[in-house]
Symmetry: C3
Subunit: 131 residues, 3 copies
């Protein structure tokens, strides 16, 4: 298992980790298999989406905050219940195919580490299996 | 890796791809393992849900459009920001167990390719690993 | 594949199944690999989140019901369309890395079976692959 360190700088932020994931998949030596991305935090997540237009990311975060408002009569005293729900909705794990020693991604896809309660020092685990 | 071609005919649509996935899992020769479904697009997704009553699918799409409205002061010029967020909420990857050479699904479950910005020609990747 | 039996006692409930998953991963004999969690139901899901403060779980359920209201002019006669959508949003599958024969989880993470249309007798499949 490889762990990629991620430093978020804002309360909510999508951080493109595609290059780090690509490097770690190559280093695994697996030619054909599956790369599992796993976030070991409860107020963060991992997703795959577009990065060609930065407005897509700002729209995603803006709309996500409308759907799960930061304040909404939550009881959890830490005040980050919205971040916990975003983590569950977006998800702590994603997996990609690996072919020819490379992660398979569509033309417009990049991998985003999703920070929902930053800024913080975070980790993203990567487990590559196959042959 | 196998790629299943999917043709959507409407702006939003859930397309049952269970038969194609089942065929590809059998063809993989894997008896015991995991089948990874991966959507290489940023305005589509993959989910597992019911198809016994077609009202379930129409309710899913209707309610998803209430949660993520098609128009909502988005900045992304292409006008499909809602589709990008739906893709992130539903997810670009899902995985199923494989046992006895068959994908394991519950009694009421089918696999849906989710089109959120159609109609388009789409792909669904399938990577089966195990032995 | 191992199947963990889960008994829900309320209409909506998050049930901590971490101990059962941990036991099954150990029993699999896999040292390094991936553990796939798969819910074979269309009105339930699996997620990973915090259990240190029980208010997190009640906030998650409260807010999820605001986002996907139980009644909202759905057409599906069974009356559980909200549960079907929650299942799709949270997801029927999650995967975890396995290292040293143990599932890898973050400090605050536990695995929750998500009941959205209970009470019912449910199953959670676990497929562990690797070596």
């Amino acid at each position: 298992m490889t762990t990629i360190e991620v430093t978020s700088r804002r309360p909510m932020e999508l951080i493109d980790v595609t290059a780090e994931v690509r490097r770690a998949v190559r280093a695994s030596g697996v030619d054909t298999g599956i790369a599992l991305l796993f976030v070991p935090h409860t107020t963060a997540a991992v997703t795959i989406n577009e990065n060609a237009d930065p407005d897509v990311v700002s729209d995603l975060l803006m709309e996500l905050n409308k759907i799960v408002p930061l304040d909404d009569d939550y009881r959890h005293a830490e005040g980050n219940s919205a971040a916990h729900l975003k983590s569950t909705l977006v998800g702590a794990s994603q997996a990609l195919p690996v072919e020819g020693g490379e992660p398979v991604l569509g033309r417009w896809q990049v991998i985003y580490f999703c920070e929902f309660d930053g800024p913080r020092q975070r980790s993203l685990h990567l487990q590559v299996i196959g042959q």
